[in-house]
Amino acid sequence: MLSKSQARTFFLGGTVVTFLVFIGLTVYSFMPSNDQTHHEKIDAQVIRGKEIWESNNCMGCHTIMGEGGYYAPELTKVVERRGEGYIKAVLQSPIPWGPKGRKMVKYEMNDADTEAMIAYFKWIGQLDLNGFDRVVSPLAQDEEEVTE
């Protein structure tokens, strides 16, 4: 029968081993050779786009890479799906954008911020998401198939 000290050893030993493996895998994931994000393409505009994304809590309604509020559309590959003109119209709209009955916050963004958001979305659109982008963005997938 298991003793208390054996149970303690199981807890401490298991925790230490899995923690070390977890750290090892984290380091492995961020090695430049394993980059799936085109990290070198993150420029000042993409960073500004991320700042705007966070400071307005866009994730509170939308999802990006499948993470967010499930209240508004997924924005991975949104540039490919909707085009820059549509995104510009939404972000600069003087009234709350409300397609099909669900309202968005009115942002009335200036041109510079809108361009930064588009740059951010374009960078997101180039990520290798292990196949998720094809499930979540059927229109983008169709486009690729037509091009091929």
């Binding site: 003793s3 208390k4 149970a7 303690r8 199981f10 807890f11 298991g14 925790t15 899995t18 923690f19 493996v21 977890f22 895998l25 984290t26 492995y28 994931s29 961020f30 394993n34 799936q36 994000t37 990290h39 993150i42 991320k50 994304w53 966070e54 400071s55 307005n56 809590n57 866009c58 994730m59 509170g60 309604c61 999802t63 990006i64 890479m65 499948g66 993470e67 967010g68 509020g69 499930y70 209240y71 508004a72 559309p73 997924e74 709350p96 099909k100 009955g101 669900r102 309202k103 916050v105 951010y120 997101i124 990520l127 290798d128 998401l129 292990n130 196949g131 998720f132 499930v135 979540v136």
Partner: protein, 445 residues
Amino acid sequence: MKYKSQKVAYWFFALCMLLFALQIIYGFIMGFARIGMDGLHDWIPFNTARAVHTNLLVVWLLTGFMGAAYYIIPEEAQRELMSVKLAYVQLISLAIVGVAAIVGFHFNIWEGRKFLEIPRELDFLVVINVLLFLGIILTTLWKAERRTTTALVLTMGLVFAALLYLPGMIWFDSQVTDSFFRWWVVHLWVEGVWELIMGGILSYLLIKLTGVDREVIEKWLYVIVGLTFLSGLLGTGHHYYYIGVNKIWLIVGGVFSALEPLAFLAMALFAVNMYRKGEKSHPNKIALFWTIGASIVSFVGAGLLGFAHTLPQTNIFTHGTLVTAMHGHYAFWGAYAMIVLAIISYALPNMTGRKRYNTTQGHMAFWLSNVGMLGMTVAFGVAGVAQVYLERKQKLDFMDVQNEVAVHFVVLLLCASLFTTGIVMFIIEFIKYGRPTDEALEKEI
């Protein structure tokens, strides 16, 4: 209640009740918005309501954990808390930081990172507050002559929870890196160190309520928290499948997150077996209901419903849909909300000296809230599965699908009303108990 300083826990529990009530109000705002009734949009848009709803959840649960620690540690350490005054300072500062964050969300002051919306400036105040809390707990334990496994596991959970808050405070230029380390906080909290806290509280309650030997209970506590870390640490990988990091996480995350239900299964079996084994018939049946209920519902909500969409082959379709909301609601309710309500139900009669052990209202609070939450979970689940099929398989437009599943949110709101009735009854019971008193000292059963 054996020690005067345990009374401070009451005020933490009172703050819990207040924040929980507010959380539910914001939940209703979101629910109504989903069926098109968004009249508050200009003042409280959905992203504000959501940030308030989720952050209040985190804050009231942490407040409950802290209250639990202030109640449990003196008894386990067999001495008074190091400083009651500092504990009150910590409570007031926690409330101020929480209120400041919630008010800020209404004025577009936030970080915009799911679950971690509190602005970085306030993060530093959170750190100071938690350091003060840990200082009180650790010095109390340091000076104690007795250090039990229950107290150590609970404290270890609280210390790790504080440490894991730090990666969430770092700025990253890359959205992918940001998400990666955000999960270090969120996942390793709820599927890691918070389970230690839950295990510690559960162990304490089972010792008190069942009368089973401490050595037996604490031995199994080690096994459970061992299983938690063994599966939960590498199980973080299920958040890394589709966010732009290496494919190795598809395998590692898939295997280890599939093992995560084991810890919850062990916890449920452990609680039920200890209850059966126990020879003590404790009169506080309501606390027993919440305690055993927490262990079973956490297995269903966190274990089974988590497993239902944790494999990469399934998750590629369910990731970013209402299926996650289904799992999230029942998991948080079972694992953490119910265990906080369990320790409150156990501690209240001991702190106030009023033996309202088996009131009809107390039992109704348990059943109505549980049936209501189960109904909400089913409504989220049906909406989520319909969303997956229509959006991910039939390729319908997001908003067309949302309009199709809106009817399930009507059901959700009805079930939420039932849930709220139960919680209101719990809060009324809390108020009826009155304030803690020194006359309750040494009257504990």
